[in-house]
Subunit: 495 residues, 4 copies
């Protein structure tokens, strides 16, 4: 999967407490999280009294230019956000962090993931007179906090976190503290680091800790929140109804290869999954292994090493592609014009190829790549996917929430192979994925959230339940009948 037509993570969060260059470090932290969202970015800074806010559309460098950065100098506390916007709510008013000024305090909040009961909560709140100013889930928690009868902000936050459902992390800044919170399944990741100056940071991925030269302190676990203030750091639980289910997607596609999630390095996991895939589904006739840049290169090199074939650069990705607005017209496309990914003719010509990719979502990208390789002279193209069949929608922060768009919800690997024009298609097994990641948590799927491959939703379905059930395909139904489900539609773990 080489572009944004496939899966999209919704957002990265970052926070820092008590560093004289808080804005600069937040900018750099967000820059390392840019792969988690390219459609908007924002930073809120505070010195305890005043809060300032800069944000914009597009990549971080477009959203927050030098002039805006200058306005953020001189503050010690900050949170920041990079955003992937699902269509329909791309306006500037949805760019986070949100900043709220009340008569008694100011609060800034940002969020990664998806709240699956947000729509019902929002309608309840509006019926009580609440006014929402964005279409973002993130506002819901602020309304819950402000309507709470609890005496302290922290108590109100705890109460509110119990009400919301789904996969999420929050970074929240008040004049008194920086808060981070993780959903009761730890579906979405959040980590704590510490600068050599003593300043604590929180971030969606460890790569943000590393680029700042900070040391890793700990993961925030399922159902926990962290409070960072002038007294130091304190981690608490807001619920004991937790079942760890870390998103396997983070390992497979979203996270940067240099990040480590729950103790497992992402590149190493990908390389291991490539090796496992080579064992499960070798190709005897192949001359070389190539990967789809950039996210599948680790898995491809693992596959090549295991099967002892040359690992070649048979596809080149234009490194400037992220920002181009121009797309070939249909007519030009038929003339063979493409801008993102190019096959290397001199490498692939006359060769039998194993093409390693991290996933097939709709099948359109795979089809295009296979055709491209064959047009460039490849003899055979055997597609090997370093994850299981993507059969079920995800509601926990990935932009694939309907069954209709998932080719694996409807077709077998053989049918897909024919559809995309490959010589064969094979997937990693669910078991193979779980073992390649190698968590050892006492929970279903060894602590992973693999809902997209199994239809087993650890945080339940809530507002999505009706539509989801109505849209199940024959293949999905058959799979669900044949496989044990650990979780019910409210996310209860039925042992």
């Amino acid at each position: 999967m080489y572009d944004y037509n496939g899966l999209n993570e919704e957002c990265g969060v970052f926070g820092i407490w008590d560093h004289s260059e808080a804005a600069q470090l937040t900018y750099m932290g967000l820059h390392s999280l840019q792969h988690r969202g390219q459609e908007g970015a924002g930073i809120v800074c505070s010195n305890g009294d005043e809060f300032v806010n800069e944000r914009g559309l597009g990549l971080l460098t477009d959203a927050i230019n030098k002039v805006k950065m200058n306005r953020l100098q001189g503050y010690n506390y900050a949170i920041g956000h990079v955003r992937y916007a699902t269509s329909g709510n791309k306006g500037i008013e949805n760019i986070q962090p949100f900043l709220y000024h009340f008569y008694d305090m100011s609060v800034s909040v940002c969020h990664n993931g998806n709240l699956i009961n947000a729509q019902s909560l929002r309608q309840d709140l509006e019926r009580q007179g609440a006014i929402f100013h964005s279409s973002s889930d993130t506002e819901v928690i602020m309304h819950l906090i402000r309507r709470s009868k609890k005496e302290t902000f922290e108590e109100a936050l705890k109460e509110s976190l119990k009400i919301i459902k789904g996969g999420f992390t929050f970074a929240i800044l008040t004049k008194d503290a920086l808060y981070g919170a993780v959903d009761p399944n730890a579906i979405r990741p959040l980590v704590v680091g510490q600068m050599s100056t003593g300043a604590y940071i929180i971030a969606s991925e460890t790569c943000a800790i590393d680029v700042l030269g900070a040391k890793f302190v700990r993961d925030i676990h399922a159902g926990e929140y962290v409070v960072i203030n002038d007294d130091g750091i304190r981690v608490e639980s807001y619920t004991d109804q937790t079942t760890t289910a870390i998103s396997a997607m983070e390992y497979i596609y979203f996270a940067r290869p240099d990040s480590t999630i729950a103790g497992k390095n992402v590149h190493a996991v990908r390389k291991a999954s490539g090796k496992r895939l080579a064992k499960e589904s070798p190709v005897d006739t192949a001359d070389m292994v190539i990967g789809v840049p950039n996210s599948s290169l680790s898995a491809a090199s693992g596959y090549a090493e295991e099967i002892k074939l040359p690992y070649e650069m048979g596809l080149v990705k234009n490194q400037y592609v992220a920002r181009t607005f121009i797309q070939p017209t249909q007519e030009l496309r038929e003339q063979g014009v493409r801008t993102k990914l190019s096959p290397v003719k001199d490498i692939v010509q006359g060769k039998n190829i194993v093409l390693v990719d991290d996933s097939i979502v709709r099948g359109t990208t795979s089809k295009r790549i296979v055709r491209m390789l064959k047009e460039a002279g490849a003899m055979e193209v055997h597609v090997r996917i370093a994850s299981p069949e993507f059969m079920f929608p995800s509601f926990y922060g990935i932009d694939v929430s309907t069954t209709a768009e998932l080719i694996s919800a409807h077709k077998t690997p053989e049918e897909i192979s024919e559809h995309i024009g490959a010589d064969s298609v094979a997937y990693l097994s669910v078991e193979g994925l779980i073992e390649s990641i190698g968590l050892d948590v006492d929970a279903p799927y060894k602590g992973l959230c693999v809902e997209s491959f199994t239809g087993d939703y650890p945080a339940g379905l809530y507002d999505y339940e009706t539509d989801y059930k109505a849209s199940l395909s024959p293949k999905q139904k058959a799979y669900l009948n044949e496989h044990k489900q650990y979780f019910d539609s409210e996310g209860n773990y039925n042992v």
Copy 2:
């Protein structure tokens, strides 16, 4: 070499004749050549009568936005340019293609490379009353053409091409034809392709032909120019004093891995040079091979394959780095903050590493990377460079024109190893480089320009001669004394 602190190619050119989507295709062709210049871009279109011009600073997508593209619709002929600007002349007035309107015709021209007698020509012309409007070499040829007494534009162009010296290619558009021209040594590359519609294109690299789905027609050779008009294509020579000397730098760093120069694929050359390097300078104690992303990954995988070690992703490059304006302050840098390149701690920790890079220019980048890896826990770091010692400045279109900045002009590999904190440093031999590229031209260095490694300048020195000779270091002098030089300071081949 992973960033722009090292070597910089000066520009990429593109041209197309007679396609209804000329501007769109030029944009896409330039997009594939973006690696050759990120500081400005321009497109000039024509329909034979009218000429229109759009250009701007920065990456192509910033320089030419949708509104500007719309103004370029409806024209059949176009040339375009991406630009690397040496400091001091970054203004918009230097962005090419230049467009000239005369009482009798209009001409647009753009250029890749460096004219080494431009300053003396310019001064002569100004003494005769000529007015220059940019600081670019490119204007010189226009003045020569306009002052020529020849009867036709083509004759005037031929005459002018004989007067200029250096490494260069030109793309020139008049209402009657698209011209491309290459210097008498073919130092800088220019290729011709053809769309399925029949339309001809010219471009600095074959990757621009490939992304457009066009077929490769031919290279333009030393001292040749091509005329494309409604009668088709015609290649002529403007001089018979030619000695082929294709820039080895194109293979080593500049060109995209999917491009093919003089019949040799760039990725394949790099992989071969990595293999050759492993044979010439193996490391016995190593656990893995890593490459500096992105330009050294091919060589690193070749090295790993040859020496049968795992090829790992021990360094991650932020794919969004190209556009960020923000740099860590000195204080932050001391706290370990970095934004471009990150070591993957979990991969390199406790390991002995072979670090493959494509070059060492000033040594500062290498030093930073070695320190980064050691701070991340690497035990040993053995640096292997997939090209020879970069000992001499280049005047033919690379932004390294003084001896002082070249660490290899002054230090031995052992001294460099100490300087950058590595456990060892070794370079590919000149012989190894020439054989890895594998041209077989009957000319010195088998048809390559390897002046940066040998001090042997196939196009001579001209305006640079005095300063160059005065600045020679003891190490450079010693090298020159010990090695045969094929070319004199006017570029004559002294057999």
Copy 3:
């Protein structure tokens, strides 16, 4: 008063129902109201289903460019706003109209004037969990409407209008209707017009009706609101506790000379006040009359006609001044550098001048003008102000809300004359003002709001009462003791 250092009206509103060019007409209507606010502008359009919103900072032409206007095409209903922002809340989030999307409806609202109980209402609402997203008063009414238990939007609106206090007009757009509302004293103006197509419009001033070639239908009176929908137009009262008190400031400075308020043309009123001023305070020794451009030119020509002196252009205002960011430094100012207003040396040299201005607020501008004229060679400068002494702050939508800044709160005309370096200063009497305007309403001050001259606040003081009373100067206290006050601090009319 020639610039923005003096008085500033807060905003102009516009609305149109059922015209195929609703956005275009709103733009033009706002353009004619630009003098009421230059710091931001916005337009919301609807077709009954969808609502779209464009807005920005600065003048209308900067705030809403062609691209934004194009996005507003194809909608039949619209409201728009030009804004004067008091310092501290100049952010884009405060630009109106606000647009709210609820689960059951969408509403857009914009506002002219000032709610004097907004702070206390806002704090009450926040205590009940309400979240505000701007610092604007305008949000308060939306919260009141949404929290109302009334069954229809119109009923909820009526209820909410009764709760808020001050001088205000609202334009509100829902999918069903366009609403306009006026405060219980009609302090701020709102008029209804009708296009030749039958479409109704509402606007802050009649000039917006005139530029659209529409015909004037009626004023909205104190305590009324208008509902415009597909059934036509209906005007209702939301309260019977009304006392007409139209802001005299609208006549004196804010409104365009071609506007007509409550049947009285603004230019004619100003010319009449200039004539009255000439009768009340003639200058025997004068050679000519000049006015401060642009707002005082009508009064000056009236003064000249009455006293039979030439009316000359002794001061020239740079017509491009509105947008310049550059101000002379103190050093340059001492060298005599000025950019906004220039004396015409050849006109004023050696002459005795009557300088007619519409007001003196802080005295700084008058001082500068008098000095300018004297430096240009004027012998005597007699300042005549075509309104009474500006002695009391205003809280109903004018940006002069503290006593400290009002020079007339502290100094007599003689002291002011000395302060500004004039040869004499005289003001129009309150009686003279009331008669020049010539309303004949059965209410105090014949239906005018003259609080700035009398300290008599027809809408009361509310949140401002404590600070206002604490800050009264000796001169203010003396005036209040000597003059009858018709209204108490809650705005009740005590006959």
Copy 4:
């Protein structure tokens, strides 16, 4: 004439030598000259060594923002330009001042007016190999200077000034001096002023001297140039073939009312011409006099004073009109929508009006205004023009260069009255104009250039001669036959 559909002056120039705030003062000087050109602006600064350049399209505040101004700080010498661009050459490359870097010196140059032999000079120069980079006349003089064989820059400048023909002023900056030059008829004005610091300035109008608090030093007369350097100021003649012929247009429309040209204040001239017009063409039945804002207000008040009628504001100009991009569609215009100028219904209704305007060029604007007034209820509208019939094109820097567009080239006042729907139309006589201005120079027309009213061209016709003569209308021919012409087509004064 109230908008830009009529006459347009081409440009204003400014220069300053040796002031620590040179850029700031140039900006302010240009701001006061903004009425002379709104389509582009530029400033070039120097400290004797380095030259810096900032420029842009649109009004000065758009063309040169704060960031650009900051880059101009710290230089002591500057020239600047505001530009009116005739259609077809509106690109940024035509924005002046131009800045040229030669091997031996740098020169910056800007220009007001029009060179009537520019096309033939340019073609000659191009035949000799010259390359032009803009479509502006201004480049011609630079080529002439650089090709001159004279030894000094000043000598080369003198020689070049003799070769060019037309109405022009130049401001030129080198590292050694600031130069100003005026055409041999002084058609276009240029004045010298001096700051209290001693620094000299040059400018197109005295208003730029006045806003800077500088004192007027002198006019630059026909055929003179001024050299300002560290030795002070020196005025020389480059030719003795001079005949003073100051453009009457400057007094009638272009110049600011506070400017003084050749000792005559512009407002005073306009008021005098209004008085003279009242004597020449009174209206017996009128109730009031109104002027077309802004340029005709002085003349209207003069007319009113002379004829003892009230001077009223019957038309209001939107002061924000300069920048709006939006125009009513034809359909909206038919509904009566207008944005620039509004009639004041309450003033004009039922009245007989004298409408004073400064000119009728094409008649379209006058027609629109008369209709507007009648639609607003005016009974009679008598148009009185404070200048003679505009019968002949101008080639000396006014954007009216073809006969076809001039209504007075074809129609009598009576026909025009009918065409525009007025009750009568009358013009000031040529004699009346000359006496109202009141120069007393021993030259034809008392030293005025009145070519647009008489067809007598003091600087000749040159490149325009053929087209001009071919296009003469019967009315023009008849006029020329009946009136003595002082100048031949090469501008020789045939006494």
